[in-house]
């Protein structure tokens, strides 16, 4: 029982990483029907930027604002830089080829991913980099015999706050309704007076920024980052997106959390080496019985 609860908490922790990355995939897919392969590398770049801040500037920042000040600063800088990167990538890699259709855009996304990944390798080197241990809180907590770390609690709370804010914006505000309308039908949304470019601006700044914050959290959690980690996390997050129903914001959050928990339970009770296989079997089962994902569209359009 204790193991199960601990594994569920571990699963929710990495699940919230998947969920936060999945949101970026899902928003872009929702609006452009494009699988934004570069998103995993946004996450990696964010992680490296956070790493750099913690290595070079943290001593100074920490001296003035404390341990958490350094972390917040690393996250903020990473998020801002990635919001900018997201816009630049959209301008260079996607905007010129929108009229060419969806397939060229997917190829362009793969190209952008390779460019970004290699840029990271050139800048920071091909070897693993380690997040500086003294910059990260290391405190174990015991609740009723269940062992969790303070970092996990912080990650969980922060991730849920971020997801809550995004959920509120998308589901409860007029601007969110305009984003959902644009995802459903671009032409009709334009007839409402909604500016397509505003929605693009929103998804290509917020998505990468969320990815960057997640990258910093992953760096702190695992301490070790590599320039290729975007592929693996990107693939898992994309799986989570499909699991929850692609293009669906609550679905992406739920899919990510579910994937994390399944992965950790599979690792604990079946085999750690087979955890990915376990995850994909679940995905296949969901797709057989609910091809549009757990939260996928069910309302039929009336003709």
């Amino acid at each position: 029982m204790r193991v199960a609860v601990e594994q569920i908490i571990n699963g929710l922790t990495i699940g919230s990483f998947y969920a936060l990355i999945a949101l970026g995939y899902s928003m872009v897919y929702g609006i452009l029907k494009l699988i934004n392969f570069v998103h995993g590398d946004f996450f990696t770049l964010g992680s490296y930027l956070g790493y750099t801040i913690l290595i070079f500037a943290a001593a100074f920042i920490t001296a003035h604002f404390g341990l958490w000040g350094g972390i917040v600063c690393a996250m903020l800088v990473a998020a801002l830089c990635l919001a900018l990167t997201g816009l630049v990538v959209e301008r260079i890699a996607y905007r010129p080829i929108y009229p060419a259709g969806r397939l060229p855009a997917v190829v362009s996304a793969l190209g952008a991913s390779i460019v970004l990944q290699n840029a990271i390798m050139v800048i920071w080197g091909p070897r693993y980099q380690a997040y500086p241990a003294p910059m990260i809180p290391n405190l174990h907590l015991l609740f009723f015999g269940i062992n969790i770390t303070l970092l996990q609690v912080v990650i969980l709370v922060f991730s849920f706050v971020l997801m809550g804010i995004l959920y509120y914006i998308i589901q409860k505000t007029l601007f969110g309704a305009s984003v959902r309308a644009m995802a459903l039908d671009r032409d009709t949304a334009s007839l409402m007076g909604i500016d397509f470019n505003r929605v693009i601006l929103f998804i290509f700044t917020l998505g990468p920024a969320l990815g960057a914050v997640t990258g910093v959290m992953v760096g702190m959690y695992y301490r070790q980052i590599s320039f290729t980690m975007g592929w693996n996390y990107g693939l898992k997050a994309f799986t989570a997106t499909i699991l929850g129903g692609i293009g669906n914001i609550p679905g992406a959050m739920f899919g990510g959390l579910l994937l994390g928990v399944l992965e950790m339970l599979g690792a604990a009770y079946i085999s750690a080496a087979w955890k990915d296989v376990f995850v994909f079997i679940i995905l296949i089962l969901v797709l057989i019985f609910r091809p549009t994902g757990i939260f996928g569209e069910t309302t039929a359009e009336k003709v």
């Binding site: 309308a181 009709t188 309302t299 009336k302």
Partner: protein, 254 residues
């Protein structure tokens, strides 16, 4: 009445296909003008060109003296032109309320004006008030049509573009929709109406144009068009055919 919109020699092309080949029409403030024609004649293309959804290849669209060419669709809504598109196109997974609020997206900073516009829509279509929390996709076809028209009214447009409002509706609903279109017009909104139901459209419009294969063939007042034998034969499915049957002549296909 002053001129509201003037379309001059409008050409629209999709690749190699010319959908509109030099269409000119005008609409005065306060008018209902009908554009009639068969499927594929270019009626929806005409409205979409006014709304800025399809690029203008040649010609001019002037709205209150200002050109609409090459202005993005969301700006055109802001200028006072809104469209209820063919096939209703309600946002099916959004609620009725959200659909209406999006209709007033350009007016979102004017909270009082938006509330007033919504009250007016609910007055015109009481059923929408009853269902305001329902997802639009769960409404019946007639209710969706009402929502589409109501949504287009939310921006309080000067010119309302209606694309086939009677499409797929039961006859009793068609009558209701046209009564409401008249009411909207009486309240001061000019309407450019695209319809296949020529009889209904001409009995509510002041003037009409016939669009055939991308060109205007005939235009005139509603009364002139209704009494035009060619139009009766081709679009009103009416007396001309019956008369010929009476004399034993076989009807020619239009």
């Amino acid at each position: 009445m002053p001129l509201l919109i003037a379309i001059e020699d409008l050409h629209i092309t999709y690749g190699a296909i010319e959908a509109l080949k030099g269409v000119s029409l005008s609409l005065d403030e306060g008018e209902i003008v009908a554009v009639l024609g068969a499927n594929g004649a270019g009626k929806s293309t005409l409205l979409n060109a006014v709304s800025g959804l399809v690029p203008v290849a040649r010609g001019r669209i002037m709205f209150r003296g200002a050109p609409l060419n090459n202005i993005p669709p969301h700006e055109i809504v802001r200028m006072g032109v809104s469209q209820s598109p063919e096939g209703r196109k309600v946002f099916s997974t959004l609620t009725v309320d959200e659909n209406l609020d999006l209709g007033a997206y350009t007016q979102r900073k004017h909270i009082q004006a938006t509330a007033k516009a919504k009250a007016r829509v609910f007055e015109l279509f009481p059923i929408l008030r009853e269902r305001h929390r329902q997802l639009a996709g769960t409404l019946s076809g007639g209710e969706q049509q009402m929502l589409a028209i109501g949504r287009a009214l939310m921006s309080s447009p000067r010119l309302l573009l209606l694309d086939e409002p009677s499409l797929g509706l039961a006859p009793i609903l068609v009558n209701r929709i046209f009564t409401i279109i008249r009411e909207i017009n009486d309240q001061g909104t000019s309407i450019l109406l695209v319809e296949q139901n020529a009889r209904k459209a001409l009995s509510h419009a002041s003037r009409g144009y016939i669009l055939e294969n991308g060109s205007l063939s005939i235009s005139g007042t509603a009364a002139e068009l209704k009494s035009n034998s060619k139009i009766q034969e081709a679009y009103l499915g009416g007396s001309a055919i019956r008369k010929r049957r009476g004399t034993g002549e076989s009807p020619k296909s239009p």
